[in-house]
Symmetry: C2
């Protein structure tokens, strides 16, 4: 499930309209629509506003959002597993020091 699908599910569960949520976020309805459909990437502040509007845990939502961006970066690559291993090694080294 992509970030967009994820937030759409939540919005629909809460029976809120795009218009309502977008208004709370202070953005155009069309933009939120695009974010949900994955044709636009939300900015960090927008994710935060969205979490507030949907009464969700902000950092959890940010995690999904960031994970999505990383998946997007990797999508086209061949050796994704290898790349993620390198990332983990680097992260581990960062936290050790």
């Amino acid at each position: 499930m992509t970030f967009g699908e994820y937030i759409r599910v939540i919005r629909e569960e809460k029976q809120l309209l795009l218009r309502e949520v977008a208004s709370q976020m202070n953005i155009d309805t069309a933009l939120l629509s695009k974010i949900e459909r994955g044709t636009r990437i939300a900015r960090k502040e927008q994710v935060e506003a969205l979490a507030k509007a949907l009464k969700q845990n902000k950092s959890e939502m940010l995690q999904y959002w960031l994970a999505d961006k990383i998946v997007f970066m990797l999508k086209e690559e061949k050796n994704i597993t290898e790349i993620l291993k390198i990332v983990e090694q680097k992260i581990n080294r960062l936290s050790k020091k």
Copy 2:
């Protein structure tokens, strides 16, 4: 070791000057200097040209470069491990389907 440090080590092992490598890459020496020092991010084509100039395996070098970019995205975050787990789940789901 960051991407910049990594390519600098290779360049120095081969006893090449910034000027020489940059020239082969068709970029300014100053720009290569910045890339090595991490104050500028190389573009994909530049990494490829660099691999050629240093006679390194292109896809391996691109892996280090991409990994570095991801680390950079994550550096400031709290729950990096959690985020990486989500990424892996998403990737696995992608490859299954």
